[in-house]
Amino acid sequence: MQSTANVFPSNARRALADERLQSVLGMVDGFNGKRARAVDRLPEFEMLRDQARDIKNHTLQHLDHYLERFETRVTEAGGQVHWCRTAEEARQAVLGICRAVGATTVTKGKSMVTEEIALNRFLEQNGLVPVETDLGEYIIQLRQEAPSHIIAPAVHLSARDVEQTFRSHHGDLPDDRPLTEARDLVNEARTMLRQRFLEADVGITGANFLIAETGSTVIVTNEGNGDLTQVLPRVHVVVASLEKVVPTLEDATTILRLLARSATGQEFSTYTTFSTGPRRAGDADGPEAFHVVLLDNGRSALLGTELQEVLRCIRCGACMNHCPIYSNLGGHAYGWVYPGPIGAVLTPALLGVAEAHHLPNASTFCGRCESVCPMRIPLPRLMRHFRERAFRERLPPAQARWALRAWAWVTRRPRLYRLATGVAIGALGWLGRRRGRFRRFPMAGGWTAYRDLPAPQGETFMARWHRERGHDRRA
């Protein structure tokens, strides 16, 4: 997918000014309440987070070994692993598999990695018909949009929007059919996609896990579309990035206990499916061939660095659900496949800091993302890592860099800092004494455009701390 992360500020302004988008975002009550309840109901949740982190850390430390073992098991079960360094190699591998069986229609389960490698467009250019079957993905495929959330791709659309999309694309259906309720929309998509499932030659899914012990790939869904995608066609292709591997079924199970609870607040997703090789001799159904396209695309270079931690991500979406910036912008403003806090780290990690240096600034550093991340990824710290790198590489505008440098110079000199802030706060308190706030403020017009700046009360925090603590001691 073509990135527009480098124009994030204008993307963000556009998102804020988009009334349709803002009304949909305002309507979303989100998964957060459900997540909190699900977490409360599992007393072991915090310990499971620690174990999940440790499982992934161990796996990443021995990634080469577990990938080799995974490949051995896939091969034993009659499947094939395709090692792909780049998006281009992965696209070619998928195309090669499709061509070899003379495929025309290709059904797809939801997969962020296939968004990352822009697989659909490539297959279309090569004469194939890729059909997204997850409801959200199907909707945005019709609209030729990108997903705006990693687990709820059409969360930026209202039922009205979906109705309009279906009316304009499902031209064969009667115009006067009822289509206002979510129920009607789901049923219509179900009917439209049924035939596609049955006629597909190849089914492509992603993977939530790869299991080294057994050579299994795992998908987690609620709709059942991923299962129809992989059980009906002759060929099942799994596209997965290399950090998805875990050692054993037990390890996957531990992380699965966190995934649905963190993502949607469900106790467990409806369908968790473990696929191992093609159908066995005598099996009643299932694909005749099984391929795993294993993608690196810049991930191996993150190992051994501070950024290795981001490879623990299980793409649950909790960080974006809890992010005040994401909640106000939606996902498209981030400009690439992965929005929200995980995107603010993963995008510069994979596309480079020159392309994506704005994204790590899309944070208030409130820390909610880290506090809910089931894999305990220190997202704010990793964003800070990229802010520092952007500064070193002189990516922010000269004015901002100069201001930061001046700020750093002052803050490293405590006496000067105290004096300067004391004077400034005193002056501001005096200037704002009548109204108690400022409507406009020099050099902070962007900030005061949306709110007033409260006038300080004439004293710095440090000064007050000293005064009150001193007072306490005397008491």
Binding site: Y66, N225, V231, E250, R257, F274, R280, S300
Partner: protein
């Protein structure tokens, strides 16, 4: 693509600042792969059998499945016929040719048309047998095989699953152990893994439109579990 494979493994090792793992580290990893050590198993999956059966039932119902408890397998044909009638469904079922269902005397309900095999587009109700039921979340475990078509779990709009009470376990890990033991018994490859293992928790659903949950997105709209008291003699099937 050997070149790409070696380069990917090479860049992983280079980034980790080492060559291939030394033999002792390899052995430690391989031991982990064969020992099936459990991580923390939540307390709710470690209860006595009666509590597990109750927990399974309550959790499955919470996930929008329906559960009907039967004293014995003789009750299955009537329960299925009642289910069809209750929901006004065509009186035809597609049944897995599973030995576990071989003893069910469908002829007790001659009004229901019974056929066996993989699911076809026209089938409205599928009937299958489970491999296990996991109490901690009310999850069914179904496995594929010559007599266990996976399509029956997804294609028909209604899914009836027969689960014997002795098949209920506490945690997912218990189901893995049973599956491994079963694999050894029948001598399958890949550590006992059949082509497909489905963990199924309630009927199909989606929240993709305004995050309102709708049942029956692509898979079954209804999931009806017939929880049968285990046959003490194991006479069935």
């Amino acid at each position: 693509m050997t070149g790409a494979r070696d380069q990917m493994l090479g860049s992983i090792r280079a980034a980790l600042g080492r060559g291939p793992l030394d033999p002792s580290a390899q052995a430690a990893c391989d031991e982990r792969l064969t020992m099936h050590r459990r991580n923390l198993v939540p307390a709710r999956g470690r209860l006595d059998m009666a509590a597990l059966v109750d927990g399974f039932t309550a959790n499955a119902i919470e996930q929008a499945a329906t559960v009907e408890r039967l004293a014995g397998p003789e009750g299955i044909p009537a329960a299925v016929a009642d289910f069809l009638a209750r929901h006004n469904l065509p009186a035809a079922i597609r049944v897995a040719p599973d030995p576990a269902l071989a003893g069910v005397s469908w002829s007790d309900r001659p009004t229901v048309t019974v056929s066996q095999g993989s699911a076809r587009d026209s089938d409205t109700t599928g009937v299958t047998a489970a491999f296990a039921g996991v109490a901690e979340t009310g999850t069914l475990v179904l496995t594929s095989g010559p007599a266990q078509p996976t399509t029956l779990n997804f294609l028909p709009e209604n899914h009836v699953v027969v689960l014997w009470s002795e098949q209920i376990v506490g945690a997912y890990e218990d189901a893995w152990d049973r599956l491994r033991a079963h694999g050894v018994a029948i001598g399958t490859a890949a550590a006992g893994m059949p082509r497909t293992v489905n963990f199924i928790t309630g009927p199909s659903r989606t929240g993709d439109i305004e995050q309102k949950i709708q049942l029956g997105a692509h898979g079954p709209r209804r999931l009806h579990i017939l929880l049968v008291e285990s046959d003490p003699d194991g006479a069935l099937g």
